[in-house]
């Protein structure tokens, strides 16, 4: 879909991108990841001709982009950037309607389309008449995504779109993007310097090294499990072993039965051992230490493991629980059992890695 052919870009003799050859798959999310200044943005911008290569060529659908008029090319690709990308003097609706308007759509029709898109990215209609400065950072980024989608382009270019928002909103936006991508199946090129974000979002990762060199291109699992060199190993980080557990399915993990009670019956439960409080729906509601059976004194629990998710989740649930045993829940949120850290390690040995 998008191909880099021996692309080099130099600024004043310094290579920003060095001899890049890369095939970006149709309908998948390809993440450019790497430390600051390694040429991710420059590579991305060569796709829509915001930057022209010094040597080599970029092809979209087999056509050299340099042969196409820049403005038309850019309208055929959505572009989302880190921040300040919205036009401050236009309302949210008019911002989203920009590219359809540039393509000659009537104002009313373009605004109607924009309204639909606000719903698609999960923004309330009444935000449509606000100006960008009246939105939170997370909302602005949603508007940016809506705007990029407005003309329904097959390709989306996203340059650190979520890096200026707090971690909670950021996680929300990431999930939202994955949800959208399930319906839309766009070809997305996503730039980030956060390896976690890259593994969450990417179907493929392109790891860039300083000097604009492509160090490794592969699935997140390949990159985390088998970094090709010192640079990639160092970049994906010391906890890449823990992180790569996200690729291990936790099916077959041994669950221990949980001692549970609802708050009003806690006093009747045996006094020894940890007691897991549950709410009316059967979901976890806190832990009572041995000997303590007053529900008002319950300890806040750790992260939850949903059956069917990864070993990373399972181990994290176990490690973050005050009782030392993680809580597994089923798809309906009911307590399904407990996870001992040793069970995770056992399961891992059975996997052979």
């Amino acid at each position: 879909m998008v191909e880099f052919r021996e692309v080099t870009k130099t600024y004043a003799g310094q290579p920003a991108v060095h001899d890049l050859t890369l095939d970006i798959e149709r309908g998948a999310i390809t993440v450019f990841v790497g430390p600051s200044g390694c040429g991710k943005t420059t590579s991305l911008r060569m796709i829509n001709r915001m930057v022209e290569p010094t040597a080599g060529s970029v092809l979209v659908d087999g056509q050299d982009v340099s042969a196409q008029p820049a403005a038309a090319l850019r309208r055929s690709m959505g572009y989302v950037m880190q921040s300040s990308g919205l036009l401050p003097h236009r309302t949210v609706l008019d911002n989203v309607a920009t590219v359809p308007r540039l393509n000659g759509m009537r104002r009313m029709a373009a605004r109607k389309r924009a309204e639909e898109l606000l719903a698609v990215v999960g923004l309330a209609q009444e935000l449509g008449n606000r100006y960008p400065a009246q939105l939170s950072g997370g909302q602005q980024q949603r508007v940016g995504v809506a705007r990029a989608l407005a003309a329904d382009p097959p390709i989306l270019l996203m340059d650190e779109p979520f890096s200026a928002v707090d971690p909670v909103v950021r996680a929300e936006l990431q999930q939202e993007l994955l949800r959208l991508q399930q319906h839309l199946a766009k070809t997305i090129v996503f730039v980030t310097h956060d390896i976690d974000e890259a593994t969450i979002l990417g179907d493929k990762l392109a790891v860039f090294a300083t000097g604009g060199r492509l160090a490794q291109f592969g699935t997140p699992e390949e990159v985390l499990r088998a970094p090709v060199d010192e640079f990639v190993a160092g970049f994906v980080g010391r906890d890449r072993g823990f992180r790569s557990l996200s690729f291990n399915n936790a099916a077959g993990l041994t669950l221990l039965p949980a001692a549970t009670a609802t708050a009003d019956r806690a006093a009747e439960a045996p006094a020894e051992g940890w007691l897991l409080l549950t709410n009316d729906g059967g979901g976890p509601a806190g832990w009572l230490p041995p000997g303590q059976r007053d529900p008002a004194k319950a300890l806040i629990g750790g992260s939850l493991f949903t059956l069917g998710s990864s070993l990373r989740q399972a181990l994290d649930a176990a490690l973050s629980s005050p009782s030392g045993a993680g809580v597994a829940i089923d798809a309906d949120g009911r307590v399904a059992g407990l996870i001992e850290p040793s069970a995770v390690l056992q399961r891992l040995r059975a996997d052979g890695n």
Binding site: R74, L86, V168, I300, Q313
Partner: protein, 256 residues
């Protein structure tokens, strides 16, 4: 005061002429400064040249300009067009720098975003750069407006009728009231013109008046404090039970 009331129609006519003679050059000057300023901003090599040239233009004494212009333009020495052209020259001299500053003031990220969406340069200039320039541009226009209104008075010396005539005439006749009325009317005119520009700016920049904080409903729903039951993704939906804020471990879609 009596003199003022008795001559009110006359004074008002002079005021109107004065306004016309200073406002028209403002419009013409703006129209000329925009392309000049754009070129100066866009092409670094000629920026210095254009900016110093405009500074030099502004230092030409007004009277000298009034005398030279008829020679250059071939107009009669007493025609109003000389004054209009002279003031337009001053306006350009002042505004070119404002236009460059205004274009510099536009966030480059916004400009890049506009380009990335597929704006062509001309359309981008009118739909993105120009509206965002308005605050800095109006600041320049306000200076030019005051400058024009004060310099226009000199036109009376070459016989162009405006409020300046009240000065020359009052001086000639040694009649203080007339001079004071001239000064006051000039001040009033300058103040009104300034007000007009400020109002114009406010009308043209609605986005600067509506800032956030006017209502507090713009934060996203997110997990409250003490979100220890981590949700690996999605909105961390937290139900609270009781006044003690005990987290109810509601379902949290945990993802890898």
């Amino acid at each position: 005061m009596e003199w003022f009331l008795a001559n009110l129609p006359y004074v008002l006519e002079l005021t109107w002429l004065h306004w016309f003679q200073s406002a028209l050059p403002l419009v013409l000057g703006l129209a000329a400064s925009l392309p000049l300023g754009y070129l100066a901003w866009r092409i670094h090599a000629i920026r210095g040249l254009i900016l110093s040239l405009s500074s030099v233009l502004y230092t030409i004494p007004s009277l000298a300009l009034f005398v030279i212009l008829p020679v250059i333009l071939g107009t009669g020495i007493l025609e109003m067009s000389n004054l209009i052209v002279a003031l337009t020259v001053y306006t350009v001299a002042l505004l070119v720098r404002s236009v460059v500053d205004a274009l510099e003031s536009v966030d480059d990220g916004v400009r890049q975003a506009a380009a990335a969406m597929g704006y062509r340069p001309v359309r981008r200039f009118f739909q993105v750069d120009l509206p965002l320039c308005i605050p800095v541009l109006v600041a320049g226009l306000r200076v030019a407006s005051v400058s024009n209104i004060s310099v226009a008075s000199v036109g009376a010396l070459i016989g162009v009728p405006n409020l300046g005539f009240l000065f020359t005439d009052g001086l000639l006749r040694n009649f203080m009231t007339e001079i004071v009325v001239g000064i006051l009317m000039t001040l009033v005119l300058a103040a009104l013109m300034d007000l007009l520009l400020v109002v114009l700016e406010r009308v043209l920049t609605p986005w600067l008046r509506r800032r956030r904080g006017t209502d507090g409903s713009n934060t996203l729903a997110r997990g409250g404090p003490g979100t220890e039951w981590e949700a690996g993704g999605g909105a961390a939906v937290q139900n609270r039970i009781g006044p003690e804020q005990r987290p109810d471990a509601a379902r949290a879609a945990v993802r890898g």
